[in-house]
Every structure is written in structure tokens, then in C-alpha cells.
Amino acid sequence: MSEANKQSNPAIVDSVESLNALFTTVRAAQQQYASFTQEQVDAIFRAAALAANHARIPLAKMAVEETGMGVVEDKVIKNNYAAEHIYNHYKNTKTCGVIEEDKEFGIMKIAEPIGIIAAVIPTTNPTSTAIFKCLMALKTRNGIIISPHPRAKASTIEAARIVKEAAEKAGAPAGLIGWIDVPSLELTNTVMKEADIILATGGPGMVKSAYSSGTPAIGVGAGNAAAVIDSSADIVNAVSSLILSKTFDNGMICATEQTIIACKDIYDAVKAELIKRGCYFLNEEEKDKLRKTMLINGALNAKIVGQRPCTIAKLAGFEVPEDVKVLVGEAESTGVEEAFAHEKLTTILGMYKAEDFADATDKAEQLLINAGGLGHTSSLWIDNVNEREKIAAFADRMKTCRILVNTPSSLGGIGDLYNFKFPPSMTLGCGSWGGNSVSENVGVKHLLNVKTVAERRENMLWFRTPEKVYFKKGCLPVALDELKNVMNKKRCFVVTDSFLYKNGFTKVITDKLTEMGIAYTVFSDVEPDPTLKSAQIGAEAMRKFEPDCIIALGGGSAMDAGKIMWVLYEHPEADFLDMAMRFIDIRKRVYTFPKMGEKAYFIAIPTSSGTGSEVTPFAVITDQETGTKYPLADYELLPDMAIIDTDLMMSAPKGLTSASGIDAMVHALEAYASVMATDYTDGLAIRAMQLIFKYLPTAYEDGTNVKAREKMATASTMAGMAFANAFLGVCHSMAHKLGAYHHLPHGVANALLLTIVMRFNACEKPRKMGVFSQYQYPHTLERYVECAEACGVTGKDDQEIFENFLQKLEDLKVAIGIKKTIKDYGIDEQVFLEKLDQMSEDAFDDQCTGANPRYPLISEIKEMYLEAYYGEKK
């Protein structure tokens, strides 16, 4: 031993005191090692792996000599594997500092060591497991204290010492690897309690005490692999591979096959091949003798572990030739009482005959449940080209974390030898079925703490409008020209309400269609709040008529009803409740809206200036039975074409002009204040506000004023395009419910709430602000001031400008005949108060609430309703 090593492992560890001293040493070394770079770590990892590999033969000899189990030549392979395959697999793996980074998405992962690993090493694979765990610790910048099995302590410690010396020579801090020299239950428990993580390989008792220690643990469980041989299997390959696997280190790898289950049509062939290749089939007497020797009080007899058949037979009281490879006991019961059903960790196999593949699978499952091995390993021999379904069925049934196909399971289970994507490991996780926290082959990732640094990023946003928007007074017939000349449409379905139909509004459309030779039908039964029932009737009529074009003419109701009929016509299978499902992000919603436009082209033509439905992806429909309103929202509902022709709006009555005009104003203001507002929606919203302030009073007073009508039509569509993309806010949430509960016109309901909501939103210290990555701080006051200034409002500071802006809006309401309060509209106080709580809750739950810049409490909504009712704060 070098001087440094003497210092780093100063005393024999044989007591709690000396173990505590060792902890101090290892911890100091680990803290130093934690700052090593990836390059330094990789150099140490390599040097340690090389040294372990050099010592593969002496370590193998020492292990067999000390434990009296296993085969030297096979242990050489295990040592070699633990050094070489582990090194090769992890040599380029990043384990220090930043291990992953995606600058575009702003996410970074940083690997940190855990601290000290308590490594419990079994007697079956003492040197290879010690090499494996020490190398893993070195690669992950952890310290490690090894608790060897008393029966294998000398070889275990020697393996650890070789790795430690090589690591320290390559620059690792002295004392990073330590061990208990004189193992005892007390010291094992202490090391598990004091460490930062336990990596336990061993019997079920050891693993259980690891999990019970209170320290995070990665423990692994007992195996009991059954090899199912399907009728389609290559028997020669299967049998020789099974023998190779079973005899490897005399069967001490936990993934080794313990039983064979062969289908009956090939059973005899399998048996003959086993005999031909050197297996010995036990007679009944020998089987009984062996059963008594294998299990003692239900527990595996340690004396038979890792032994050759001739030795085992002698122990059981009978003789077999020296060159027998495996003892095979044919069995029928898969119950716990059958010794051959259990894990034997030696050169004994149980063998079962199955009726067919399904029965074989049942038996394999029964063995796992009755005799142990849940979570560990299963094995299947099969024609893997033509029997994919059986492989899938087998994989589906087995509650095991390794399902190996046409692979010797001992060497296959430890990975990287028979499948090169399967990570190499000497510690095989068994998942929750095996009482473990890990279900994979344990690797470096299980020994790291990974920190995720996630930087704030903004959502992708969008701006979408109908493919075609035509406008200008008198443009309707010109725009419809395209139906024939460009699109070659044949059958057109017109949706409208009875008033418009009776008053000849559809005539200009039907005349044009007739002129172009396009067949048409008119559905004129749309009601003011269109119901699902009437939409279903309309859709039925569509199915009969089979239009390739739908024209919805009217106010919001007719256009919304048209959109719903369009959906029902194209997708009768679609479920309304699904389509109306609330969502936070329209692009991440659970429900995928059906693809629209495959049967019919949709044209929306407004006859009033307000709803903007001709350019929005929204539609509201009422269930006539329950009175429930279903708001649908999806860009699939965006009309293909919008035609805005002022000729259709010239005769709108005063009440409609005022209510729909102020609705458009609220659309513009809510879209501008929305957390989803963008430059694209802002420009449109501001222009809409400017036009509405300037032209709405004139359009209201003098309906014949063409310019005022035309500008209002434009403003309404622009506001629609703004809120089609930025969405609305809590004013609309509240107006929807106020309208539904008390039958107020939608625009009037909005107008009554508007300035109250704006004052609520403008608060610079709201109780809760809107949640959206783009929305950084409560800036709604500034946003309203931008609107105010664009509309010519002045003042000495933001607050005064804002107040003057509210006054300008109030003045506009007066100018267009809107009353002050909800009460003024004749809503009974008692009725209003009775419905208030439910109405407030419903308003809170409205789809529009999500885009509001201030996230409202239900109680705040109620206060605003009260203020709107009485005209003052209550």
C-alpha cells in the first residue's frame, strides 16, 4: 500500500467508530471529487476499468477459492465484462455538470453527484459486482463504501482495492472508495443508514433492510426466470443456449433460467436434445431426494448454490456422472410446494409440459406468482419472424422487467452481450413487482441528481383570418361571382332568420345564385338564441340537400347557427360536450376538433355591425332542454369567406345599431387588454375603437348615413379579427351570463359592465394577475391609456387619461341610448339577488375569463355585478 492509501483507509473497519471515521474520510474525498471536470472523471474511470480488467484472473480465482462456488473461467468473463462493457457503454456519457442543453427551448440539465453510495455486494458475484459499483461511483463523482458478504469479503475487498488504487493513481482524491473489513449486520445497517443512497444487490432480506433503512435505496430482487419454448422455436439453438446460460458460473447469475416450459408437441424433442447435450433427467426417487436438499424450511440451501451436478447429487444422496452439465427434474405443479419451481442459483432445472403456447404462458405466470421472481426476468424461445403476436402476448402477460427472446437469460439479462441497446449492468432492477424503485438495468443515471434549469419562454402566437374577406357597399353579388367562376360550386344552402327572409334580404343572394345556375335552398328558422334542436333540423336539411357551399346571412345568431349546422353536417358523429370542453390553450386542448370544409365551403355575411362572427372561430348554441349555452371555439370554425356589404345594414333599427355597435367596442377593448394581445390584433383593435367613437353616434342617430354605416361595418369586422386571435375577457364572461339569466341584449349587457370591468382590470396591484407566459406584470392601465391616447383623450397623467377615457365611453353609451344600470332595464332586485351567486360562478367559469389580464375571484365578479346593478359600489 502506498503512503496515501494508508492515510485514506487508516484503520481496519470493524466497529461503528471506525466506520464513522471511514465516512469522514470518504465524505471529504467525495466533496473534493464533486468539483472534478468530465475530462478528469473520464480519465479516472478509464484507468480504474483498465486496472480491474488486468486483475480479472486473480480476482476470479480468489472468489472461487474463498466462496467455494462458481467457475473460475466464467468469473473471469464476469470480471472482464464488468470492467470492459461498463467502460465502453459509459465512456462518452456525460455525468458532470451540463449534460443536456436546448437553447431554443431554454432548457438545461445539470448532473450532480449524490454523495456516498452504500454498496452491498453479494456472495454470488463478489468481484464483478464490486468492480461494477466502484466504476459507477467513479463515473458519477460519488464516494462509495462497500459492505461485502462475510463469505466473500476478501475477494470483494481486493476488487475494490484494485479499483481504488488505480483511481487514486489517476488523480482521484484519496479515500473516495472505502469498505468494511469485518462485515456484520450492525455495520451493514450503519453504512446503509449513514450513506446518501444504497445500491443493494443480494437476497430479499438484504434488499428489504436497504429499503427500510430510511436512506433512498436502489435494491434489486430475486430472479426465477422460466424459459418458455414455443412449438415454433429452433430447438437445437434453444437447448444449447439454455445449457450455456444455466452452467455459466454454475447458475449464479440471478437472471438465469430456473425452469423450462415446453409445448407438448415438441416436449420430447426438447428432452432428447437436452439429453444429447449432456443434461441428466432425474428419476422420481432422485427428484424427491433433491427436493429435500434444495429447500430447507422453504429457503434455498446455500450449500448447493453455484455447484456442479455431481456435487449436488452427492449432497442429495445419489450419484451422477462427473460430466453431467445440468440436473433436470420434470414437474407438474407450479405451486409453492414444488421445489423445482423455485430459484435455485445452481445447475438444476425444473421442466414443465404445456398443452400449448397459452398454457405455457399461464404456467410461466403461475411460477412467478407462486414461487417468486416477480419483476425480474422471463425468457421465450420462438420463431421471432412469424410469431410476432405471441411475442406481444407474452410481453403483455409477464410481470417481469426483462423479457428476453431467443437469448440465454443469464448473460442476456446483464445486457450488451446479446442485445446491444440493452445497457450492461450487474444490478438488475425489478420494478415495483419486485419491491424495487428501479425497473431497468441500473446505470449511471440512477446515481445522479439531475437538476433541470428551465428558462421562461413565450408561447407561439398566431394571427388567422378567413381566407377571403370582401368589403365595400354593394359588394355582395360581386363576391358571390367566385362561387361559379372560381370555385365551380353547384349547390348552395342559405341559413338565415325568418325576419331577414321575409323582408327580402336573401333575395340578392338567391337572385345571384339563380343567375349563376347554382341550385339553392333557404333555411330561415334560426331563432334569436339558436338552439341545438334547430341546428340539428338545419343539419338534417343539409344532409338531404347535400350542399357544397353554405351561406350564413344575418346577425350573430344566424352566423353561429350556420357554423354549428356546418359542423353537424360534416361530422354528425361529433359530440357537443367534447367540442364545448373548456381549455386553457386552444393549441393544447384535449379535444381535437374535426376537420372542416371537406363537404362544404362556408360563407358568412353579417347584417348588423357588432358580433364579428364572420371572422371569428367561435359559435354559441343553446341546449333547449337545459338552457345550457355551449360556446364552441376552434379555428376549424373560421368561415372560409366573409362578405361585409353595408347595403345589408342600412335598415338596422336603432336598438340593434346601438347594442351591436357597443359590443364591437367591447370586443376591441377586451382584445387590446387581453393577455394574448399582439401587434397584429392591437392595430386592428385601435382602429376599430377610433372608428366606433367617431361613427357610432351618427349611425345611431341617422341610419341612412352611408359613411357611418360603412365605417361601423368595418370597425365591427376589425374588432372581430382582433378578438378572433387575442380573445376577450371577463366583461364578456359576465355579459354572457347576465344575458342568459336576465334576457338582456348581449351588447347592452356588455355596455352595462364595461367601465366597471375596465377599472377592475386597470388595478396595478390586482389580487391575482392573468397567467400567460407572455404577460409579465399588471400593465392594463398602460394599455388602456394607449387606447385612450389613440382615441384623442388627454390628461395630466395616466390615471387622469384613464378616467377621461372611461368618461368618453360613458358619454358614448349615453349618446346611443344605453341606460346606466341593470336596474334601469327593469330587472327585479329580488330576482337579481337570488340568481347572483350562481351567475357569478358561471361567469367565472366562462371560456372568456382565461384571457383577462386580471384573474378574477368569484367574489370580485359578484361585486362588479352588484355595482352594475345599482350603479354604485355596494
Binding site: T465, I686, R687
Partner: protein, 235 residues
């Protein structure tokens, strides 16, 4: 004039880093498998194509760059300049436009592309003075276009608000650029004579007199001149 209309992209997607998210629609909505990228010669050598080709590769799509023989079911134009002739020569498949700089310009058809993606990560840092003047020129010209409407005015004025508001950051200027392009190519239509009616409306919308607006425009133009004088002379 009996009818007016305007063109916008079927889908306009934007925000820094949005490229891979927007491109996902190629597969999810358009069922695209083979993408033809049209780009400028210099982009083949300066590494700026990598984020785009990388994203297509990650999505498992076949692609070719500037190929004449590649049978594509989607074209992505990643460039700063496209004229009508170039646009019309493209195959009749979904056309995605990704502007590669703010100092460029497109054509009317480009504005109606199936998808336009604006991602700051795909735009180089260009001198703010050049970008600002370029945007303003388009926005101003849009106001006098014979096909100007309240729609084009709202976009042009919004672009002007950004420029007059003193913004020099890439994000604000990228959106002002696209707004100005949308306004310009909708308002300026070949064969339709200029009309100055909208300039007064624009002044009102901006809350400025014509003199103030002219002075502001001159200011931005001077900025560019000054930049050019100090930077281009040295070369």
C-alpha cells in the same frame, strides 16, 4: 370601386423559437413528407439554414435545397426577397414563407401564403436604422396605395407606431416589418392609381398633423443616411 378585399396568410405564426412548433403542422395538418427549401445562395454557406434543416430532420421529413427535380409536397421559402414571377413558378403545394431578414421585401402573392413563420432566431441582427427606415417606407407607401382601406391603414399605422415609438429591438421591428409588408402589398396594386385619401386618416389615427408626420419620417430617413455615411464609407 364596388369591391375590396385583402390578403393575409392563412396562418401567421410568431414568437422567438416557434419554428419547430409551427413546422409540426406540416405533418399534423398538411400530411407533408417531402419539403423543398428555396433559399438564397449565400444561405447555403453561412450556416443559417441549419435550424430549419435540423427541425425538418428531427421531424423525419425528406428535404432538398434549391433542387429543380425534387418532387415536393411542400415548399418552404426561407429568404428575404420573392417577386411575383418567382412565386408563380413554385409548384402547387402548400407554400410556407419564412422571412430571413427585415430589410427584404416580398410580393402580393407571398402575403397570402399558406403559412408564414416569424421567428427572431431566424433573423440576423441588422442595423436598426436601416430596418426602421425600410419599414417606414413600406408603411407610408401603403397609405397612398389605390387599394388602401381601414384594414391596411390599421396595419401601416401600427407599424408606424412601433417605428415612431423609438423601438430598435428585433422583435418589435420584425412585427412592424410584417405589418408594413401586409399593408403595402394589399394597398399597392398594379394598375390601381395612388390615392392620398388615407394619409389624412392616418394622421388622425396617429394623433399627428401632416407636418409632424412628415418631420418624423424625415427623422427616420436621416437616421439611415447617417448610419450609411458612417458605416458604408469606411468599407
Amino acid at each position: 370601386m364596388s369591391m375590396q378585399s385583402f390578403l393575409t396568410p392563412d396562418k401567421l405564426y410568431f414568437k422567438q423559437g416557434c419554428l419547430p412548433i409551427a413546422l409540426q403542422e406540416l405533418v399534423d395538418v398538411y400530411q407533408v413528407t417531402r419539403v423543398l427549401i428555396r433559399t438564397d445562395e449565400e444561405m447555403l454557406h453561412n450556416g443559417r439554414l441549419v435550424p430549419l434543416t435540423g427541425a425538418l430532420y428531427d421531424m423525419g421529413l425528406d428535404y432538398a435545397v434549391n433542387s429543380e427535380s425534387f418532387a415536393a409536397d411542400c415548399v418552404i421559402l426561407y429568404t428575404g426577397f420573392v417577386n411575383a414571377a418567382q412565386w408563380n413558378a413554385l409548384p402547387e403545394v402548400p407554400r410556407i414563407l419564412i422571412p430571413s431578414c427585415i430589410c427584404g421585401t416580398f410580393c402580393r402573392s407571398c402575403i397570402g401564403a399558406d403559412m408564414v413563420i416569424l421567428d427572431e432566431d431566424l433573423i440576423p441582427d441588422e442595423p436598426a436604422a436601416l430596418m426602421r427606415n425600410r419599414i417606414l417606407t413600406h408603411a407610408w407607401s401603403a397609405l397612398t396605395g389605390g387599394n388602401a382601406s381601414d384594414y391596411t391603414l390599421s396595419w401601416a399605422v401600427q407599424a408606424m407606431r412601433t417605428v415612431f415609438g423609438g423601438h430598435t429591438d428585433k422583435t418589435a421591428l420584425l412585427h412592424a416589418f410584417w405589418l408594413a409588408q401586409q399593408a403595402f402589398w394589399n394597398a399597392k396594386v398594379p394598375g390601381v392609381p395612388d390615392d392620398t385619401a388615407m394619409t389624412e386618416e392616418a394622421c388622425e389615427a396617429l394623433g399627428m398633423t401632416m407636418e409632424e408626420l412628415t418631420a418624423k419620417i424625415r427623422e427616420v430617413s436621416d437616421e439611415e443616411q447617417q448610419y450609411a455615411a458612417t458605416h458604408f464609407k469606411k468599407q
